[in-house]
Each structure stands twice: as C-alpha cells, then as structure tokens.
C-alpha cells in the first residue's frame, strides 16, 4: 500500500494552534507551566507532553513585516535516524510511511532524541536513574491506522494541514508552490520531498527554510557513522584480537613442542 504524508501549507496557517491543542487532547498530554517570554509562542519547545506546536517567526523584509508560523513535529523520515539508532525497535517504520512508536519497547536510551536531525523525539528521564520513555508525534498512529486523520490535520481550521497519500500530497504541494511563485512569493518551496529520503511530513514554505528554523540540508549526521562505521569496526577489532590470540596460542604451542623436543633430543 502507498505511503501517507502530512502536508503543512504554511501559506495558509493562521497560527491558531488548534493542532497544538488537538494533539494534546487526543493523546492525553498534560499542559506545562509557561510564561510569556515576549512572544505568542508557547510552550517554548517540544517536550514529552508537547508533540506538536507552532513556532512563531517574525521576519522583517522589504515589503514589510511577515509573521511566519511553523507547525513542528516528527518529520517521519524515510531515512529515519531514530529508527537506525533505536536499539529496541520501539521506533519502527510503519508500512504507511510514518515512524511508529511502541513505548512498551522503549528503554529510554534517548539515542533517537540525540541523533534526530530535527531534534524531535524528547526524553524526559529521571536525571539519576535515566529511567524514562521517549515521546514524539506518531502521526496519531492509532487514528491513521483506523481510517482517521491525525488529530492535527483534522482540526486545522484553515485547511493548512493536509493528510493523505504521499504522492498526492506532493503533487498538491508542488502545485501550491507554483501558485505561490506566480503570486510573487519567489522563495516558496516544497520541503521534505527528498530530504532524508523523503519526509512523511512535508511543508509548503513561503520563505527559505532557515527563516522557519528548519535545516536546509538535514543529514543523519553521525548516526550513519556510528551505525555503519563504529559498530562494525568494533566487531572487527574484537574479532581480530581473538584471531591474534588464537594464532598466538598455536604459535606458542608449536614452540613449546619444539623446545620440549629439542630438550629431549639434547
């Protein structure tokens, strides 16, 4: 079956934060204590109890001020670093194209949180024992595998969040970007078509990704190095050592036999 994707059209987002609250409502996530820090934006970051939120970016340009809103959350990468580094398979590629999370399997190692190029998964663990479970947007894995839209997509008042077949989402995104460019938004682009093998959460951006705080060229960073370099290297090093020791044992036995023989001969 085909992959699904979210498509977030930032040119339509009103920053109402319906998605932010609907996510909490469906997933039973608690509110956190916040203060106004000179912005509409709150909570100030994703967290164990905030899986999606709107980041507000005020940008001054030649044509006046712009207020850009970006819905943050799991990018559902095809080349998913979190899945690669997860030792427990708590994070897995789901057939529908998102990264599912089974908290029962998670042991709280937090590698996914640290290796994610978008810093999406969050671990709120006991500082001493390290005990905790990873959290992240699962694309409402219970809803989408039961024929429903994710809570955020369903609740979006402005039709800024689409959900559906990824190829169709991509076509919609490209068409929208063409429209925006024709309307004078020369920086409009699709984000997520090819990034990390293609994201299951794509954006239509009005401005450059950096203006929304998105990495221009997200990469798995050291995750590949770790998984594909260091670990095999470790096995090789240990294997070679054992091999060396084996040779050594054989060699000394041969020498010992020779020396015994020499003594006998003497």
């Amino acid at each position: 079956m085909g992959k699904v994707s979210l498509l977030i059209d930032t040119s339509k987002c009103t920053g109402c934060r319906g998605c932010q609250v609907a996510c909490k409502e469906w997933n039973d996530l608690a509110a956190t204590d916040t203060t106004n820090w000179g912005s509409y934006e709150n909570p100030p970051d994703l967290s164990a109890s905030t899986w999606t939120r709107i980041a507000f970016h005020e940008v001054e340009g030649d044509s006046g001020v712009k207020w850009l809103f970006l819905k943050q959350g799991c990018m559902q990468c095809t080349q998913a670093v979190c899945v690669e580094v997860c030792p427990t398979q708590a994070l897995q590629h789901h057939d529908m194209g998102f990264i599912s999370l089974d908290q029962e399997r998670c042991n709280g190692c937090g590698y996914c949180a640290e290796f994610c190029p978008f810093q999406i998964p969050r671990l709120e663990a006991n500082a001493f024992t390290g005990q905790g479970k990873i959290t992240k947007c699962t694309l409402c894995q219970d809803r989408v595998t039961n024929d429903m839209s994710p809570a955020c997509a369903k609740t979006c008042p402005a039709n800024a969040i689409y959900f559906g077949d990824r190829q169709e989402m991509l076509a919609t995104a490209k068409q929208r970007v063409d429209e925006l460019k024709a309307g004078g938004h020369s920086n409009a682009s699709v984000y997520g078509e090819t990034e990390l093998g293609g994201l299951g959460r794509m954006y239509v951006l009005l401005e450059r990704p950096a203006q929304y705080g998105l990495p221009e060229n997200p990469s798995p960073a050291l995750a590949g190095f770790w998984q594909k370099g260091i670990q095999p290297f470790g096995y090789a090093a240990v294997g070679l050592t054992l091999l060396g020791l084996g040779f050594n044992w054989l060699a000394q036995r041969r020498n010992s036999a020779l020396s015994v023989k020499a003594q006998e001969e003497a």
Partner: protein, 189 residues
C-alpha cells in the same frame, strides 16, 4: 436523552473531507489487514453539539464513556467547520473535566470573608425572597407626571450570551414579568 447518533461509517466518511478533501488510505486496504493497526485511544464521539466559544457555530462530536466525557472533536459532517476546531474548541474537553468547575452552591453572607456551601433549596428560596423584597421596595408604579410605568429599577440583570435560546427566552419572560428594566448582556459590550 435524545441524542443524535453519528454512525461510525458517516464519521469516517466525512473525516476525509475534514482534511481538505483529501485522502485517506483506502479503507479496503486497511480492512484487508495489510498494515499493523493500533487500537484507538478513546471513543471518538457519538453525541453532537455546537462549540461553546465563538459564534461561528462549529459542530462537535462528544465521546462519552460511563457518564464521563472522554473526547470532544470537530463534527466532520458539519458544513461550516467540517471537523475542524481552533485551539479553544479543541480544548473543550477541559471545560467538562476540570477541577475548577463549581459543583456546589456557594453562599457568601454579608461581610463574610469566605464562601460556605449551601443546598439548592435554601439558596433558591432565599433568592426568591430577595427578589420579591427588593422588587416590592423599589417599585415605580407611576412617574411624576402620572404615567403608569410599573417597573423596578432596583434589580438589574446581565447575561445570556452563554445560554441557549430557550434559556434566554425563559429568563426574558420571567424578568419582564417581574418588571425589570435593567436587562443587559454581552451584546451591549
């Protein structure tokens, strides 16, 4: 209770519309069990209502379990919001399940520094007595020029925009019958 039941089929059918007319994975494929499913966290909703915030009048579905509300989300069949809700509407569940909700009649005696709990009967009787006493003591039957006006300016009323039409109507009817003229509400301010 006479409640509009939303069939699951209708709900699912319409939830596609709610996402900007797009495009759920075909239910056939899912029904065939091709992908792992996760059980739904909660009941979506079976009773319809209208959001209690602004006057767009968005439809909501309310999911209940054992007499408690477990979920409120947008009504996908509703032509205005098509399943959508803003941050306030999406937070509606916390209106119902909220420790700050009043659950007792509270009374503050003149000069008292705190509330005390009372029962309804006591409070309602006392309110009715107050209304009568104040109305009768502040009754204007005629103006200085002798025009019959039959009103009281001693009692004022504000409110209603949070109420249903039927509630507003009964209040208006009762208040005017009691001779009140200071009747105002949110529409003025």
């Amino acid at each position: 209770m006479c409640a509009m039941r939303v069939s699951r089929r209708d709900f699912l059918k319409a939830s596609g519309i709610a996402t900007g007319s797009l495009l759920l994975p075909t239910s056939a494929a899912l029904a065939a069990g091709e992908v792992p499913r996760f059980p739904l966290r909660k009941k979506v909703g079976e009773v319809t209502t209208i959001c209690t915030y602004c006057a767009v009048g968005c439809g909501q579905v309310v999911g209940t379990l054992a007499g408690e509300v477990v979920n409120i989300e947008g009504d996908p069949d509703h032509p205005i919001n098509q399943g959508a809700l803003c941050s306030k509407g999406a937070a509606s569940l916390q209106i119902i399940n909220n420790p700050k909700r009043l659950t007792k009649v509270l009374y503050r005696a003149p000069g008292a520094s705190d509330w005390e709990e009372k029962d309804w009967d006591w409070a309602l009787d006392r309110i009715a007595q107050n209304i009568k006493a104040t109305r009768d003591a502040n009754w204007i039957e005629k103006t200085a020029e002798g025009k019959t006006v039959n009103r009281t300016e001693g009692i004022a009323f504000v409110g209603g925009s949070q109420n249903t039409n039927e509630e507003c109507y009964l209040w208006v009817k009762a208040l005017r019958a009691m001779g009140l003229v200071y009747i105002e509400h949110q529409a003025r301010i």
